[in-house]
């Protein structure tokens, strides 16, 4: 199949940037979306143009490095990561618009690459359990109900790709933050730091310039790992509880 892509090109953080149109021929339906970009980049390189910069690494949907907005949808038309999206999801002759994640907290570095360091700083603000190496008790001393463990796992599968922020019209990082609050908050090990965690993480979330949540649910629908929306409600409950105890 032959397709046309319109790609956001921006030399660096200071550049204004614009959409540029390229044709890509002989695209196989079995190619992944990123392999299609590889093919385009080989063309660009040979013609002496600057290839399109995009983040990617594992290409199996787990590292969270890749992610672009395709035709206005984070990671494109399927609920998966960009690397796991295949060209069979598009028609021959399609015009595909490719843009970087847009959010105040995710400044563009180059082309489709953005800086997601804000996510790491939210984790630094409390997204952990303080368990110094060597201090752990025997693992089976602490039974965890299977249901809780499974729910915690579900939230812990967040890959930190940032699709939730890109899909949210408010550029809110609430689903990412809530996934971690839920993962750790559901486990008995996570209880001692539960209040300080939610307070720290929310403060950092806001400080990074993410927007507020308006509960419309675009984040969950765009999340390649299906992090459920009720995690945000849990975050809200946890913060309410912490504030009520005067912990802020």
């Amino acid at each position: 199949m032959n397709i046309t892509v319109r790609v956001w090109r921006q030399k660096n953080a200071d550049d204004k940037g614009k959409m540029v149109t390229y044709g890509v021929e002989n695209v196989s339906e079995h190619m992944s979306f990123l392999e299609m970009l590889d093919v385009l980049n080989e063309q660009l390189t040979l013609s002496g143009d600057d290839p399109i910069a995009f983040d990617h690494d594992c290409r199996e949907g787990i590292c969270g490095a890749c992610g672009v907005v395709i035709n206005g949808q984070a990671h494109g038309p399927q609920t998966t990561t960009t690397c796991q999206l295949h060209m069979r999801s598009f028609e021959d002759g399609a015009v595909i618009d490719i843009e970087p994640w847009r959010a105040g907290a995710f400044p563009v570095v180059k082309d489709l690459v953005v800086d997601r360091g804000a996510f790491d700083r939210i984790i630094q603000a409390g997204g952990f359990i303080s368990a110094p190496t060597g201090s752990a008790p025997e693992a089976n001393n602490l039974p965890v109900p299977k249901e809780d463990a499974d729910h915690a796992f579900e939230s812990a599968t967040c890959i930190g790709c940032g699709a939730c922020v890109a899909a949210c019209p408010n550029g809110s990082g609430m689903l990412f933050t809530a996934a971690k609050i839920t993962h750790l908050g559901l486990l008995p090990q996570g209880q001692p730091e539960r209040d300080s965690r939610v307070i720290g993480m929310i403060e950092q979330h806001d400080h990074e310039g993410f927007g507020g949540c308006t509960n419309i649910g675009e984040c969950t629908s765009s999340c390649p790992k299906g992090i459920p929306l009720d995690t945000i409600s849990r975050l809200n409950r946890d913060l309410l509880g912490a504030l009520a105890k005067g912990k802020a």
Binding site: M31, P51, C58, R59, R116, D120, I129, T133, A136, P143
Partner: protein, 654 residues
């Protein structure tokens, strides 16, 4: 008088042979007490002095993140580096199946000794007993540590931890978190690391790639890195350097590694004098999704836990064009169950991979190009019901469907082996220190405890063992003699290292040839796969060395690297990595040529039993090949391996 020429290995046209080496730190005494003795005898560092001691940790996978977090927690001044935009993206995250630990929660006869025994045997007697025993010992602490961090392992209804059995062993000692165990363990280590970053003990440098090692007065004292956003070439010095930069499977271009995985950190250290051990030991994983076209950029692993319930087969007839569902039961060859009745579909990875290759070579392969075998879940779905299969493997099935566009619940999966893990790496002693003083190497980057073949669910175990429980002791022992004299940035060794990096980048950008970096990488990968892949021959390896040398010369004359250094330049990043892969690829072939035996992940066609099984030559090759870099040719140093506890015998899974 006749002079008998001493026997010369044909590989010696490509390398010299140096003196044998020994691990000077190798402990003695009863094996159960060796690690305790080493810990007791290791020098300690007063907590108040730790702040004055600095460590650079390259890589943030399980081995790197756990080490950086633990060292930071202990109070050392740590700087951590990764090429990704966040430490959480290191490729440990993609490990699916699980992590082994000798907890014996299943009461099935597991023990530290059995894990030790299985690992030595699984590694085809090419690993050190002491190291492996230590690994088995600390395995139990790893699970405790990870649970305390909040890693959501799978649990039983009673709330206790669940286990499953995993390729190559007969006990259930594998802890898992659905098909995403690596992700969960890495997130645990990552969170511990972020906690230290917040505490100010670890300084994180994301999007920074190590390009050179700095040696001052025969000690590793720093690294040169490139800021991948600005292109700035930075110098970082410290009292010790830890490389946890992962394996080199991407020398094959197509592998299950992440696109960015590379050998540059370890190769640069090698060129500075660190020995590279057993580079030819490559693990080819039997259960990957087959290649679909020449645009393919990577291969995707399907966890081998699938082999617990899936049955592997090919049509008995050659070039059978029928759909799987049209092939009746008696025309199917469940070849693993047939050849290896004791282990069946659960034979170790190298055996399963080679068996698949033979079936395909014999014209029985399925799918595009005949490069695939079936992995069939029809029986499991009948026996357990679809919901149970979904609960166990749902995410893997989804992934398969997403990539191939086929439904594995109704049609069997097609799988084919792919490069997955490299057992070789920088040579280290019992303290995980390379032959370069002050350079420590952990995780997949070192030549590790896996010998010639790694068992399933042991990579995660080793990465975390090194980072959480081994390195913090052995590195402290080294640092106890520090702090070492401060290294100024205008020290001749620093200036030399920095200039070398800058010159290399300038050269790459100036060639402005006609071929892309990827086209070279793909060609190199094809050479490696054809001649240094699942089956190796003297003729093929000799040919490959010539081809790699020619391709490398062509690369330095004709590669096209666009853009400039002072920007985010992904082509330049790849070019530097591929340049190092050429040199490593050549060394792999030389190592494979030298080792005229078959063991684990290294199979020499010349060395097999009558029925086609790997044939070791313990009399001649029971040693670690440690290669010293040379401008003209490498030098081989042999570290003889001795087995006091596990009797060396040939592996049999029949």
């Amino acid at each position: 008088m006749t002079i008998t020429e001493p026997y010369k290995n044909p590989s010696e046209q490509f390398h010299a042979v140096g003196d044998d080496i020994h691990d000077a730190k190798a402990p003695t005494g009863p094996i159960e007490k060796r690690w305790d003795d080493r810990k007791f005898n290791a020098k300690l560092v007063n907590p108040a002095n730790r702040r004055k001691l600095s460590v650079l940790v390259v890589g943030t996978g399980l081995a790197g993140a756990s080490a950086a977090a633990t060292l930071g927690e202990a109070g050392y001044h740590v700087k951590s580096f990764c090429y990704q935009d966040s430490p959480r993206r290191a490729h440990s995250i993609a490990a699916q199946g699980g992590i082994n630990a000798a907890k014996n929660y299943r009461n099935d006869g597991d023990s530290i000794y059995r894990l030790f025994y299985d690992t030595v045997k699984g590694g085809d007697f090419r690993a050190r007993e002491s190291n492996v025993y230590r690994l088995a010992q600390v395995s139990v602490n790893i699970i405790d540590q990870c649970v305390a961090q909040g890693v959501p392992f799978a649990r039983e209804y009673g709330g206790l931890l669940d286990n499953r059995s995993f390729g190559g062993v007969q006990v259930s000692r594998t802890f898992y978190a659905r098909g995403q165990t690596g992700q969960q363990l890495l997130i645990g280590a990552y969170q511990a690391l972020e906690r230290q970053i917040a505490a100010g003990t670890v300084e994180m440098n994301t999007r920074h790639e190590m390009l050179e090692l700095i040696m001052v007065d025969d000690r590793a004292r720093g690294i040169i890195v490139r800021d991948m956003v600005t292109g700035e070439i930075e110098t970082h010095t410290a009292d010790a350097v830890v490389l946890a930069s992962g394996g080199y499977g991407n020398v094959f271009f197509l592998s299950t590694n992440a696109m960015g995985c590379n050998t540059t950190a370890t190769w640069r250290a090698h060129r500075k004098g660190a020995y590279f051990a057993n580079p030819c030991y490559t693990q080819i994983h039997p259960t990957c999704i087959p290649v679909s076209g020449d645009y393919q950029s990577k291969l995707t692993l399907m966890s081998e836990s699938l082999r617990n319930d899936g049955r592997i087969w090919v049509p008995k007839k050659m070039n059978d064009e029928r759909l799987a569902s049209e092939i009746p039961e008696d025309e199917r060859d469940y070849y693993l169950e047939r050849i290896y009745p004791a282990f069946g579909n659960l034979v170790p990875r190298d055996i399963a991979s080679r068996a698949a290759k033979y079936q395909c070579d014999a014209g029985k392969g399925v799918g595009p190009g005949g490069l695939g075998v079936y992995l069939d879940f029809a029986d499991a779905i009948d026996r357990l019901g679809r919901p149970a299969v979904e609960a166990k493997y749902g995410n893997l099935f989804d992934m398969y469907a997403q990539i191939t566009g086929e439904d594995p619940y109704s049609e069997p999966m097609r799988i084919y082996p792919a490069v997955h893990y490299t057992m070789g790496g920088l040579w280290v002693d019992y303290d995980l220190q390379s032959n370069l003083t002050g350079l420590f190497v952990t995780g997949e980057a070192n030549f590790s405890e896996h010998g010639a073949n790694r068992l399933g669910a042991s990579a995660l175990m080793q990465g975390l063992a090194d980072g959480y429980f081994v390195l913090p002791y052995t590195l402290a022992n080294y640092l106890a003699d520090g702090p070492y004299d401060k290294v100024d940035h205008d020290h001749p060794a620093v200036v030399e290292a920095k200039q070398a990096v800058e010159e290399r980048i300038t050269t790459l950008l100036a060639i402005n040839g006609t071929r892309t970096v990827d086209s070279y990488h793909k060609e190199l990968g094809q050479i490696m796969w054809d001649y240094c892949g699942m089956e190796r021959t003297e003729e093929g390896l000799t040919k490959a060395i010539g081809m790699i040398r020619d391709l490398k010369t062509d690369f330095w004359a004709n590669v096209k690297v666009t853009g400039v250094n002072e920007e985010l330049n992904q082509t330049l990043e790849r070019a530097g990595r591929v340049a190092d892969f050429f040199e490593l690829g050549e060394l792999m072939c030389i190592d494979a040529l030298n080792r005229r035996e078959s063991c684990g992940g290294h199979f020499r066609a010349e060395s097999q039993t009558e029925d086609g099984e790997a044939l070791r030559h313990d009399d001649e090759f029971a040693y670690v090949s440690a290669w010293e870099y040379g401008d003209k040719q490498p030098t081989l140093h042999k570290e003889p391996l001795e087995y006091e506890y596990v009797e060396m015998k040939s592996r049999s899974y029949k």
